[in-house]
């Protein structure tokens, strides 16, 4: 089987589900989420069968590669999409509230199907080694995400989020195309693997325009991974977008951005003239992102905004890893961190979906007294917060440990010290949620019902956090 067949299967699944949705009369659209998740699970199983990369010399090999990074992140994207799809049934009441429906369930079905196309786009993105391919797959993912972010047509917050996302996303698209054209103009290639060889033959005068092009691409990628100073869209979009989309944005789309960034830096890392300059830029980005994300998160009172800033903060830790790509362990560390980040972030969004549906809002104060109203949800959120803060025996701790280890190893002492301070800030804002759940009195009594799907997700993601945290060896083994 060719690696491309996985993405093709996902796209085909999406098209089939669109047709099923169009021809089915059922007003309850939950089955689409379950069908989509089951189909993606099938693709996930398929991904464990031996695949071969496009043979060298074929047209496909200029665009797509298959390496440890792509294999790992294809599975990562699939799992993130499955979790998102399974979150959607619990979110259906909100969709019904904000969508004008001529008939019951009208216009809701696509919400469960569109993530499949994002998924396919991101899967291509993590395996692509060519700027053109990166751009096309990025657009497939992003344009679909514009639709998803603004899906709640009669909710102004969602519309605002979608518009902001669209405008800033389009701007970043402009940056990446512009940057690619400068790089192509100087080196004559869009292939990342051919880039080092092409640069080595360049005259010294061509380095400056090349650097300009690379800087433009970096700006666009910084938008994608929400690195400072290109993070300003994050809090508003995260708050306004439908919660499952927010969780998908903060996990899958960010991870794909990091993969592209790693590929770009790994390709340019062999060219000393450029890699030294890039090193400084990435270190600076990491430091600023760490500071901004962690300190701006402190005063937040809205859970979705808090998680938005937290996602910026985690981008900072990941950038610490990216700045240390010289270490053999850097890529496993980043991959591991992202895997843990998937489990803990999505777990908090799963809990948030249920809590905000039961209490009617996204503020942290809605979590007040959750420990008494639903020990299960509170326990899950506690685990997620502990992992996000970096308490041992959770995935978040091992992730931070590995990242700090590689950063230290590469001599980024300043970043490590800064990381220490920001971790302490993180303790504060994650513990704010724990405080709300256990210290505060609930506004209303009565248990919060938890559906079977949510229980399943909590069990799966919670087990992931603990398993990665106690026994990280297997997942690291897949990354080297």
């Amino acid at each position: 089987m060719n690696t491309l067949s996985l993405e093709i299967a996902v796209v085909a699944l999406g098209i089939v589900l669109l047709l099923v949705e169009a021809y089915s009369d059922r007003s309850n659209k939950n089955y689409l989420s379950y069908l989509g998740a089951a189909g993606l699970f099938g693709v996930l199983v398929l991904s464990f069968f031996p695949m071969h990369a496009p043979a060298a010399g074929t047209p496909a090999s200029a665009f797509i590669t298959q390496d440890i990074l792509s294999v790992f992140f294809v599975r990562f994207t699939l799992i993130a999409t499955i979790v998102t799809l399974l979150m959607i049934p619990g979110y259906r009441p909100v969709l019904e509230r904000y969508l004008p429906a001529e008939r019951a369930g009208g216009g809701i079905g696509e919400f469960s199907i569109l993530p499949l196309f994002v998924c396919a786009g991101l899967m291509w993105m993590v395996s692509s080694v060519n700027f053109i391919m990166i751009f096309v797959s990025l657009e497939l993912a992003t344009i679909t995400l514009y639709i998803l972010a603004t899906y709640l047509r009669q909710n102004t917050a969602s519309l605002e989020a979608g518009t902001k996302f669209l405008i800033l996303g389009a701007l970043s698209t402009g940056f990446i195309v512009y940057g690619i054209s400068w790089i192509f103009g100087t080196t004559g290639t869009t292939n990342l693997l051919a880039l080092p060889a092409a640069i080595s033959t360049l005259p010294a005068s061509a380095i400056t325009p090349l650097l300009f092009g690379i800087a433009m691409v970096l700006v666009a990628l910084s938008f994608k991974i929400s690195a400072f100073p290109f993070q300003f869209w994050v809090p508003d979009v995260y708050q306004g977008a439908p919660t499952p989309v927010t969780s998908y944005l903060s996990v899958a789309s960010k991870a794909a951005g990091f993969v592209v960034l790693i590929r770009l830096l790994a390709a340019l890392g062999t060219v000393p003239v450029i890699s030294h300059k890039l090193q400084v830029v990435i270190t600076l980005l990491a430091a600023l992102t760490l500071i901004f994300g962690n300190f701006a998160a402190i005063p937040q009172t809205n859970m979705k905004r808090l998680l938005g800033y937290s996602s910026i903060a985690h981008a900072g830790y990941l950038l610490m890893g990216v700045a240390s790509l010289g270490s053999r362990l850097a890529i496993p560390a980043i991959g591991f961190y992202l895997a843990g980040y998937l489990a803990m972030t999505m777990l908090s969004f799963v809990v948030l979906t249920v809590v905000s549906e039961a209490t009617g809002g996204d503020e942290i104060s809605r979590f007040n007294g959750l420990g008494r109203r639903s020990p299960l949800l509170a326990g899950a959120m506690l685990l997620a917060a502990a992992s996000l803060a970096g308490i041992p025996f959770t995935a978040g701790f091992i992730g931070k440990l590995l990242i700090f280890e590689v950063a230290f190893n590469q001599g980024h002492y300043g970043l490590v010290m800064l990381g220490c301070v920001t971790v302490a800030a993180g303790f504060y804002y994650y513990f704010k949620v724990i405080r709300a759940m256990y210290w505060q009195q609930p506004a209303e009594e009565g248990p919060i019902p938890v559906s079977f799907t949510v229980k399943l997700l909590i069990a799966f993601l919670g087990a992931g956090i603990l398993a990665f945290g106690i026994y990280p060896a297997p997942i690291l083994a897949t990354l080297r």
Partner: protein, 481 residues
């Protein structure tokens, strides 16, 4: 037997799991604590002192390529600390009053602290030594915030942020230590680290010692990183304060004995002046701050910070006598401060206040409580017959043998004993002696279960006081000659 050591960590966790699925919280917790105390006694007396070294070993590969494994084992020092942990745990759970709201969570939090600290003591791999200790962070936060008294929220925040930051500084130090080992030999296994240091295979820089000292120091409330401790202990519910001040805080000292002493003998010697300055701060400055306190909970909170100075002084002596004394004092202080906090909680429950100006003459209404408090106060001051005395004497002897640098700290230390006597006797007098106010006349005396819980703490304190070899022989197996 190695299974028994694993069980001491798993039993509290298993009990918390049972409580989560609906078992009676108090019964499950007490059952686990009693079983754990029995297990730790079996281990304590089953340890082969003649062979010495690490026993009851078990190992799981976690990150074999990085040389990180979860290795559990115990030597004499470990077993003394585990005995302390299990005794204090049982006592803390026993004195815990009837909890009105969310009783299950209360006991789960206490059990997690207990499991974490036992796991930390039983870990041979430094990363797990660290990790297990962190298990206590969230339970402490919840315990102080929900069931605390006074300005509990501020205290909980302060302690959490301080301890979180301190432990990340510690983590950086451990990473630095790990990376200072030549590639290919990297490990965090204490046995291999000791061996490498002994054979001269690696020389970690003095900077790493400083980072570790700050990290461990803030966990032990070493001056000037102490300011989280008094408010946290004053506001925490009695069982949490007992576990935290009695056992958990000893983790930082234990870590220094395990890591700093064998790996950084030269750095410790070179930088001893710095540590001794902090020690003088702990004993003299905090001592006077303690004298000026107007409430019993704050007095005990500050006194527990002050007494850390003696233990650090024992470590700084860098010789067998001083370090043995420090270890004995860790054991003794853990028990005596736990007893003090237990009784402090009992008084608070009866009177609702711990302010010296409002209390007085309580011994007339609550004679047994007064008697027990007298014992705890005498132990804390370091009266002969209690293990605290033996520990302090050894620390002074060890320190005096170190050299001229120690003259001032030893004098300060001896003066510190006087300071302790001042504030403890004053507290005793202000609360239990003098004329009794009318509103306190109807107070009930200490309940039977609380009485026995405190006696459980005082008995080993006196056993080790009259026969310190009971502890010292065990500790001796862990220290280099």
């Amino acid at each position: 037997m190695s299974l028994l050591l694993i069980l001491t960590i798993l039993l509290p966790l298993a009990a918390s799991l049972l409580i989560m699925v609906g078992a009676d919280p108090r019964r499950a917790a007490l059952g686990a604590a009693v079983a754990n105390l029995a297990a730790s006694l079996v281990l304590f007396f089953g340890y082969d002192r003649v062979t010495g070294g690490w026993q009851f070993l078990s190992e799981w590969k976690i990150l074999p390529k990085l040389g990180i494994n979860m290795t559990l084992g115990a030597d004499g020092l470990t077993l003394v600390m585990i005995l302390l942990a299990t005794v204090v745990t049982l006592s803390a759970l026993w004195v815990a009053p009837k909890v009105e709201k969310n009783e299950g969570l209360y006991y789960v939090c206490l059990l997690f602290i207990s499991a974490g600290v036992i796991g930390a003591f039983a870990s041979i791999d430094v990363l797990f030594l660290y990790s297990f200790h962190e298990l206590a962070l969230i339970p402490t936060f919840i315990l102080i915030g929900v069931w605390g008294s006074g300005d509990r929220q501020a205290a909980a925040w302060k302690a959490t942020i301080y301890l979180g930051l301190g432990s990340f500084v510690l983590l950086i130090g451990l990473i630095a230590l790990y990376l200072s080992i030549p590639a290919g030999m990297r490990t965090l296994d204490l046995r291999q680290l000791d061996q490498m240091a002994a054979t001269g295979a690696f020389h970690p820089s003095a900077w790493i010692y400083l980072i570790l000292l700050v990290g461990f120091g803030s966990l032990v409330s070493l001056f000037p990183f102490h300011s989280w401790a008094p408010p946290a202990y004053a506001c925490a519910p009695a069982p949490a304060a007992m576990l935290h001040a009695g056992v958990l805080k000893k983790f930082g000292l234990y870590g220094l004995i395990r890591i700093a002493l064998p790996l950084f003998p030269e750095a410790m010697n070179d930088l001893n002046g710095l540590l001794l300055l902090a020690v003088i701060g702990n004993i003299l400055y905090i001592g006077y701050v303690t004298v000026s306190q107007k409430r019993l909970d704050w007095t005990i909170g500050y006194s527990s910070v002050m007494h850390m100075g003696y233990i650090f002084m024992g470590l700084a002596a860098l010789n067998m006598i001083g370090v043995s004394g420090a270890a004995l004092l860790m054991f003794a202080h853990g028990l005596s401060v736990a007893a003090a906090f237990a009784l402090c909680g009992e008084i608070r429950r009866r009177t609702g206040t711990l302010d010296y100006s409002e209390l007085g003459g309580l011994a007339k209404a609550t004679p047994v409580l007064g008697l027990l408090f007298g014992f705890a106060a005498m132990a804390s001051v370091g009266l002969p017959g209690f293990a605290n005395f033996a520990g302090e004497v050894l620390v002074f002897f060890g320190a005096a043998a170190y050299g001229p640098l120690m003259i001032v700290p030893v004098i300060v230390g001896v003066w510190g004993v006087v300071i302790s006597a001042i504030y403890m006797l004053r507290a005793y007098r202000n609360i239990f002696w003098g004329p009794i106010a009318q509103r306190w006349e109807g107070l009930t005396d200490i309940s039977c279960s609380a009485k026995w819980a405190v006696i459980l703490l005082l008995v080993p304190l006196m056993v080790a006081g009259f026969y310190p070899q009971f502890i010292l022989k065990m500790v001796g197996t862990a220290l280099p000659r």
